[in-house]
Subunit: 344 residues, 2 copies
């Protein structure tokens, strides 16, 4: 079934309620991929929704915001959104918490944001909990970002907690990654910096009115210099000092992000980013499509039996995967028309 009449138009026009409904539809939609055969569905499929919105995407600047917890990220995101609003841009906020896959609880900071931004129809906020599947969070986040992009939100802030692999994956879906640090508090911050410095397009030292801010800025600058002496890069991540609770430094942060967006365009890196993102998304959807095709042919019971055999070490995962693929191809071969009819 296609999208409900009027919903797509209302969402594309930026009506918040329609946008929320479209996101919910997408999150709960059957993929529409099964067996690559048409199958009737009571609800619009993810494939149908994506086909409808995809041509309208590609106009948003997506900014990933990451860094260790306790750094004031949520407040900074809210202030950054307010600064974009002052500049007349519609802003989407996607708050992702991969570290609480089992709790599904509310994201810290949502209440703060809602206080400042609620009632503004130019701001859309969505919290994402992890549904427990590897890759699932990155994919559903990408879906929400695509909807917001299509619906006219020209800046999309994707906030993640922590600095693990999921954050890095999500950062890759963004055009720019902001890493938020706070004035040094000991060894642990030092340890984190090493890894996340490499994904930062803009560095923020928040709580810049605290002791040690100047020292942290200097230390980050030295690490950037060290890196640049190893790998010559055209873009040196600027270090912006903010006091998010008072909104200080947010205009400078927006300016830094604008300069970065301009750099991406002129250097051709934006095109490379788009291609990497398309590759990753296409592979993810392709895996889903291929798995559904195989399960449709063999049946879920056969797959569960295969799982049981691997769990009991009657076969290894590689041998079993090869066997399942062979059986699926035999099934498909038996059901398919012959070459002559096929290519007519």
């Amino acid at each position: 079934m296609p999208l409900p009449e009027g919903l797509l138009a209302a969402a594309l026009a930026g009506e918040r309620r329609a946008v929320a409904r479209l996101i919910t539809l997408l999150e709960n939609a059957p993929s529409g991929l099964a067996g690559a055969e048409e199958q009737p569905s009571a609800a619009a499929t993810a494939a149908e929704i994506m086909a409808a919105i995809y041509p309208h995407t590609g106009q948003a600047q997506v900014v990933g915001m990451t860094g260790p917890p306790g750094g004031g990220k949520s407040t900074l995101v809210a202030r950054l959104a307010a600064e974009y609003r002052r500049r007349g841009l519609m802003v989407g906020i996607v708050a992702v918490d991969p570290s609480s896959p089992f709790s599904g609880g509310a994201i810290l900071g949502d209440r703060i944001r809602m206080g400042a931004l609620s009632g503004d129809s130019g701001v859309f906020i969505r919290s994402m909990a992890n549904r427990g599947e590897l890759g699932g969070l990155a994919r559903s986040t990408a879906g929400v970002v695509a909807v917001l992009d299509a619906c006219g939100f020209r800046r999309i802030l994707v906030e993640t907690v922590g600095t693990g692999q999921a954050e890095v994956e999500i950062a890759r879906t963004a055009h720019a990654t902001v890493v938020v640090q706070v004035p040094e508090m000991g060894d642990e911050i030092q340890t984190m910096k090493a890894g996340i410095l490499e994904i930062a397009d803009v560095l923020v030292v928040n709580k810049a009115d605290h002791a040690g801010a100047a020292r942290t800025v200097a230390a980050l600058g030295a690490m950037l210099d060290l890196r640049r002496s190893v790998a010559a890069e055209a873009w040196r991540p600027p270090i912006v000092q903010t006091v998010a609770t008072r909104g200080e430094g947010c205009a400078e942060l927006v300016d830094a992000l604008d300069r970065h967006a301009a750099y991406l365009g002129t250097s051709g890196r934006r095109a490379a980013q788009d291609e990497a993102r398309a590759r990753s998304t296409l592979r993810g959807v392709l895996h889903e499509a291929l798995e559904e095709w195989l399960l449709t042919l063999l049946g879920r019971a056969a797959f569960e039996e295969a799982v049981r055999q691997v769990a009991q070490r009657q076969d290894d995962p590689y041998g079993m995967a090869t066997a399942l693929l062979r059986r699926a191809l035999q099934e498909a071969g038996g059901k398919r028309p012959q070459r002559g009819e096929d290519t007519a």
Copy 2:
């Protein structure tokens, strides 16, 4: 080509050099899955290696060790390994750092460990850097764990940095997850606890000689009580206090892990874990097999052209995935024998 003669036997006998060679072979091996057709290969394929070792796996107790950086995890892992050695068990250590995907640098703490454990042929240490692909790190970690399991290492300690999604995924490949905390240092630790408490089978408060240790133990206990009042669980994660630098508490930690292993067995949860792990591994390998099958049929150039079209928004990922699958099935249909020959 099968495994080099003698290598498998030497590795299965626990010879460290052979184990290291086998792991390297596995990490660099072609999958052996392409198109589900036999294809000659100069090196042993991952499929061949896994088929050879898989029947020997399933005897190790795999313990995931996680927690925020700066908590003394590496030292604790080394001391825990030493305690297992005292009890006559061979120990594998796999150190995973998902937060430095681009650096590939050495893992902190390896030097500490090597000092204490080097020269002991009953200990095998492997550092894993992230190779950049979603799911790749969890899969290659699982491969190393399988090799160590097959080669007689009866305890395998998988250490991860941070508390993000990757850590949670890796924790799922372990039979028990130890979450290492330190005496409270402020809000940020509080924030982290909420999520990782739920993956902990055993909680450790390391640096228990520092101020605030008793308060942290009490706070963790209260949080556990709160959780148990919501969801009645048979296993209450014990809280073990350690001073890793002096090896204090490591015997208690081993005892707690032994009790947990016994609980897994008697409660039937170990079987459920094995099945969940088998499902996840099988799906990962299946996705790989299906993708290789499709790429073999259509050619990499066609796939790259599809990526380009998605990047330029000429088609959406769902539409393109469906189209690629259709084309692959047409190709396969054309090449396949007819039903009669097929099932003869």
